[in-house]
C-alpha cells in the first residue's frame, strides 16, 4: 500500500482587489489519509499563505468547506487523498469554488447570498400547533418522524445546489426545498398552505427534472431526489 502521494492541485483563484481570476498550480507530497483541508493548510504553511479557503468543523458536520473537485461538489474535509486518487484515477486535481454565489476570494464564496434562498422558504415553524397540554412535548411516533427525518439531516453545504443543473437561476434549489418539505411533513406546523405555495411556486419543485444529481453528491447521503419526487406527487402532507 502506498503511504504517500505526489499531488498536483490546480486551484482557481480570485483576487478581489485586482478583480483577477487565474489558476494556480501547487505541487505537494501528502500522506494517504490526509484530508483536502489538510492539503490547503499545508499549502498555507509551506508554500503560499495567501490562498483563501473555508472550513469550520472539519469533520463533515457544518458544510463550510464545499468546493468543486474535478467538477464534483464535495466537502474538502471529508475527502482523503487516497480515496480521491482512487475515485478520480489521477493525482492531479482541479479545485474551484462552488458556483452558487459570488466569490469573495479564491475558494471562499459569499455564503450569505447562497443562504438567501433558504431564508426565503422560512426554515422554522411559522405557526406552531399547540401541544396537547401546556408544558408538554408533542407526541410524534417514530414512524411518522422516520418519514421526514432524513430531510432534517441537511447541513446546507450547497453541494446539491451546485450539482443541480436546474437550480442556478429561478429554482430555489434542492436544499431550500428540503427545508420547506420538512415543515410540511412536521405535524407541529399548522401553516401548511403558505408552505405548499412556496413549494409549488414558479421557483419551486416543478423546476426539478429528476436528474438525481442532488442525491448523488449529497455528503450526508440524503436521498434528496426522493423528497423532490414525493413533493411532485403531492405525497408530503402530515397527519
Amino acid at each position: 500500500m502506498k503511504t504517500s502521494y505526489d499531488l498536483t492541485l490546480n486551484i482557481r483563484r480570485y483576487d478581489p482587489y485586482q478583480n483577477r481570476t487565474w489558476v494556480q498550480t501547487y505541487q505537494l507530497e501528502a500522506g494517504r489519509i490526509m484530508r483536502f483541508v489538510d492539503l490547503f493548510r499545508k499549502i498555507n504553511d509551506e508554500q503560499d499563505a495567501t490562498l483563501a479557503w473555508g472550513s469550520s468543523c472539519e469533520h463533515g458536520q457544518c458544510g463550510s468547506c464545499s468546493v468543486r473537485i474535478n467538477g464534483k461538489p464535495m466537502l474538502a474535509c471529508e475527502l482523503l487523498v487516497e480515496n480521491a486518487v482512487n475515485e478520480f484515477g489521477s493525482t492531479t486535481f482541479f479545485i474551484e469554488p462552488l458556483p452558487v454565489a459570488s466569490v469573495v476570494r479564491d475558494l471562499v464564496i459569499d455564503t450569505d447570498q447562497a443562504y438567501a434562498r433558504i431564508d426565503q422558504v422560512k426554515p422554522y415553524i411559522i405557526s406552531p400547533r399547540q401541544p396537547a397540554a401546556d408544558g408538554e412535548a408533542h407526541q410524534i411516533s417514530p414512524e411518522e418522524l422516520d418519514r421526514y427525518v432524513d430531510a432534517t439531516r441537511c447541513i446546507n453545504c450547497f453541494c446539491c445546489s451546485a450539482a443541480c443543473i436546474a437550480s442556478h437561476d429561478t429554482f430555489l434549489g434542492p436544499n431550500a426545498m428540503l427545508a420547506a418539505i420538512v415543515r410540511v411533513m412536521d405535524p407541529r406546523e399548522d401553516e401548511k398552505q403558505q408552505r405548499l405555495e412556496t413549494i409549488y411556486s414558479e421557483n419551486g419543485v416543478y423546476r426539478c427534472h429528476s436528474s438525481q444529481a442532488c442525491s448523488f453528491v449529497c455528503p450526508k447521503e440524503i436521498d434528496v431526489a426522493h423528497f423532490m419526487a414525493l413533493a411532485k406527487q403531492g405525497a408530503i402532507t402530515s397527519s
Binding site: T3, P16, Y17, G31, R32, I33, R35, R41, N44, D45, D48, A49, T50, L51, A52, G54, S55, S56, C57, E58, H59, G60, Q61, C62, G63, S64, E78, L80, V104, R105, D106, V108, D110, T111, D112, Y115, D119, P123, Y124, I125, P128, P131, E136, A137, H138, Q139, I140, S141, P142, E144, L145, V149, T152, R153, I155, N156, R183, D186, R188, E189
Partner: protein
C-alpha cells in the same frame, strides 16, 4: 496601507451578541420573543450561524423531566457538583438544573426533531457521570436528536431568531471590547469579507464566542475556536476564571482528533488495550466505561504511558481501541450512525467488524470569563461590568467547576442563554442602558504591528509549534517542570510572532492576517492556562498534576487569572458558592466537599 485601519462606520443596536452559536442564539431568541422589534445584532466568525461549533455536538442534552419517577433534579445537581470535583458554584447548578426541562420544551415546541420512543415521547439515554440516588446507578437523563443534538439546537434557535428579525453579521469578528469605568458600550468589529473595521454601539453586549480548543494540537474543536472572547477580556483588563480547567475527551479518533462521542461508551462500547484487555475496570470498578471523562482520559493515557497502547502507523500516534463489534446492527444503524461513519470516513474502518483507534483529545474549556449566576461579567474585584454579559463555553458562572459532565454543556447554553436575556432586558430598558460611545483605542495599533512586521518568522509555523507544545506539556498530565517549559516557550513564541511578516497586506479575506491576530489570542489564553496550572499545586477534576496527585482543601477556590501585560499573569481567587450545602435541609451533606470516586 495602515490608513485603512480606521473605523469605517458606527452602528447602533439594542443588544450586540458576539457569537452566533447555541448560547448566543438562545439568548437572542429570548430577547426577540420578549421584546419584539428590539434590534439584536449577532456577529460570527464563520460564514453562517449554522456553521458554528454547537452544530457538531453529538450526544445529548441532560435534563430531568419533573414527572420522571426514577430521576430528580436533586440527583442532577449532585452529579454536576460531584463531577465538577466540588468546584462548581451551587447557586448556578441549582438554577440550571431546575430550569432544564422547560428549555427542552421550548426547543421541542419550536420544532427541534428530538428522537422519540415507541409512544412518541422524547427518548432518553444514559451518559457518563449521570446517576440516580446519588451515584447508585446510571440514569436515563439525556434527550437527544440521534447524534445531531447540537445541530438540532442550532437549527431551531437560528430559525427562531430569523423569524423574529435578528440581524446577522457573518465573518465579522469582534477585535476589541469597548469598556470604560466598569461599563461596556459595544465592540470594534472587523468585517472580514470587505476588510473594514466598524464600531458597534450597544446597550448590552453579550460575549458568546465559544471554546479555545485550538490552543492544543489534538482537539475536537473547530478551526475558529481560538479563545477570542477570553483574549478580548484579558486585553480589556478582565480576568479569566479557572483557565487551567481544560477537559480532554477520552475518545478522539486517532489522526484528525475528531470526537468519537461518549455515546459509543453509553451504548456499550468497551475500551481495550494492546492485549485486548478491558482495562476500565482497573480504574473505575463500578462505572467502568461510564466514568467521567477525566478519569477515562487518564486511564487511557496511563495505559499508553505504561506501554499498553498501540502505535498507529499512519500518524505515529499511540492509542487504545474502542470495541463496538458486539453491538447489534440496530444500535450501529439507529443510535450511532454518524459517529460510526467517522471511523469509516477518516480511518477507513467498519465499527461492526473492526476495533477502532481512539486517544484523548482536547475537548472543552470549563474556565472562562467570570460571571455571576445571571451571566453578568465580573472584573478582578468581582464588581460587575455594566452592560456586559458572557454565556456559553467562553463563560464561567461556574456550572462545570473543574470537570464538565457530558451533555451538561449544551444544557448550559440554552438555560443560561435565556437567563442572560431575562437579565439584560430590564437593563436596556433603564435610563442607564443608553448608548455610550467609548473610543476603541487598541485595535489599530495591534493590526498595524501585524501589517508592518518584518523578519523571517512564519505565523503558521509558530502556531503549529505552539499547539504541539501545549498538547505535549499542558494536557492530561501536568508537572511543574513541563509547565515552566511551556511558559518560557510561549513567551518566546510571542516575541517571534512580531518578526513574522504577512505575505499579503490586503484586508479583505486575508486569512493570514486573521491567523496572526488569532495567534496572539491563542498565546494569551495558553499563557493564562499554563500559569494558572502552575499555581494550582494540586489535582482537581480535569487538572491533573503528576507532582501533586491529590485534591487539597487549601485550593478550594476558583482561580482568577489577569494578564497585566504579556507574559505576566496575576492570580486572584473567587469563593466557591456552597449555597446548597449551606441551606441545610435533607441531603445537604451531599453538597459538601465530598470525595469524587466512581
Amino acid at each position: 496601507m495602515t490608513a485603512a485601519l480606521h473605523i469605517a462606520a458606527t452602528l447602533r443596536c439594542d443588544v450586540l451578541i458576539i457569537g452566533a452559536g447555541g448560547a448566543a442564539l438562545r439568548c437572542a431568541a429570548e430577547v426577540l420573543e420578549q421584546m419584539p422589534g428590539a434590534s439584536v445584532y449577532a456577529l460570527t466568525k464563520v460564514s453562517h450561524p449554522q456553521k458554528s461549533h454547537t452544530s457538531t455536538a453529538q450526544g445529548g442534552l441532560a435534563a430531568v423531566d419533573p414527572r420522571d419517577p426514577l430521576d430528580s433534579t436533586l440527583f442532577h445537581m449532585f452529579d454536576t457538583w460531584k463531577g465538577s470535583d466540588c468546584t462548581a458554584d451551587q447557586n448556578v447548578v441549582k438554577l440550571i438544573c431546575e430550569s432544564a426541562w422547560e428549555q427542552i420544551l421550548w426547543l421541542e415546541n419550536r420544532g427541534m426533531h428530538f428522537s422519540r420512543d415507541r409512544e412518541g415521547r422524547l427518548s432518553k439515554r444514559t451518559f457518563g457521570g449521570h446517576t440516580r440516588n446519588f451515584g447508585e446507578a446510571s440514569v436515563y437523563r439525556a434527550v437527544f436528536e440521534a447524534d445531531r443534538t447540537g445541530k438540532g439546537i442550532m437549527d431551531t434557535s437560528w430559525g427562531e431568531t430569523l423569524k423574529n428579525g435578528i440581524r446577522f453579521f457573518n465573518q465579522c469578528i469582534a477585535v476589541e471590547l469597548l469598556i470604560k469605568d466598569r461599563r461596556c458600550g459595544g465592540c470594534i468589529a472587523f468585517k472580514q469579507k470587505d476588510g473594514q473595521f466598524v464600531k458597534i454601539l450597544a446597550k448590552a453586549t453579550v460575549i458568546a464566542t465559544g471554546g479555545s480548543g485550538q490552543v492544543f494540537r489534538v482537539t475536537t474543536n473547530c478551526r475558529q475556536n481560538t479563545g477570542d472572547g477570553l483574549a478580548l477580556a484579558l486585553q480589556a483588563g478582565l480576568p479569566i476564571m479557572d483557565p487551567e480547567a481544560v477537559q480532554f475527551h477520552p475518545t478522539g479518533i486517532v489522526g484528525p482528533g475528531i470526537l468519537a462521542s461518549e455515546t459509543l461508551r453509553s451504548v456499550g462500547g468497551i475500551l481495550r488495550n494492546r492485549d485486548l484487555e478491558p482495562f476500565m475496570v482497573n480504574y473505575a470498578p463500578k462505572m467502568k466505561e461510564l466514568a467521567p471523562r477525566d478519569l477515562v482520559a487518564r486511564a487511557i493515557e496511563s495505559e499508553i504511558r505504561e506501554g499498553r497502547g498501540i502505535v498507529n502507523p499512519d500518524h505515529n500516534i499511540p492509542h487504545v481501541w474502542i470495541d463496538l463489534r458486539h453491538l447489534s446492527d440496530d444500535v450501529h444503524e439507529k443510535q450511532i450512525p454518524e459517529v460510526s461513519s467517522f471511523f469509516k470516513r477518516y480511518v477507513n474502518l467498519d465499527t461492526k467488524k473492526d476495533l477502532c483507534p481512539v486517544r484523548p483529545s482536547n475537548h472543552y474549556h470549563m474556565g472562562g470569563i467570570p460571571t455571576n449566576a445571571f451571566g453578568e461579567v465580573q472584573d478582578g474585584d468581582q464588581q460587575i461590568i455594566g452592560g456586559l454579559y458572557a454565556v456559553g463555553e467562553c463563560a464561567a458562572a461556574s456550572f462545570h467547576g473543574f470537570n464538565r459532565l457530558g451533555t451538561n454543556s449544551i444544557l448550559e447554553l440554552i438555560t443560561m442563554g435565556k437567563l442572560v436575556a431575562e437579565r439584560l432586558i430590564p437593563y436596556i430598558k433603564e435610563e442607564y442602558g443608553k448608548h455610550q460611545d467609548i473610543a476603541g483605542d487598541r485595535f489599530a495599533a495591534r493590526f498595524s504591528t501585524y501589517m508592518e512586521a518584518t523578519g523571517s518568522e512564519s505565523v503558521g509555523l509558530i502556531r503549529n509549534a505552539m499547539r504541539t507544545m501545549m498538547t505535549e506539556k499542558v494536557s492530561v498530565f501536568r508537572t511543574e517542570k513541563t509547565m515552566n517549559e511551556a511558559i518560557e516557550d510561549l513567551a518566546e513564541s510571542y516575541e517571534r510572532a512580531h518578526r513574522a511578516p504577512l505575505a499579503c497586506r490586503d484586508l479583505a479575506m486575508n486569512q493570514e492576517l486573521l491567523n496572526r491576530w488569532e495567534l496572539d489570542n491563542l498565546l494569551m489564553v495558553a499563557m493564562a492556562i499554563s500559569q494558572a496550572a502552575l499555581h494550582r499545586k494540586e489535582s482537581r477534576g480535569a487538572h491533573f498534576r503528576d507532582d501533586y496527585p491529590e485534591r487539597k482543601d487549601e485550593f478550594n477556590y476558583h482561580t482568577l487569572a489577569s494578564m497585566v501585560s504579556f507574559p505576566t499573569v496575576e492570580i486572584g481567587r473567587r469563593e466557591i458558592d456552597m449555597s446548597l450545602f449551606a441551606a441545610g435541609g435533607e441531603h445537604h451533606e451531599k453538597f459538601d466537599y465530598i470525595e469524587r470516586k466512581y
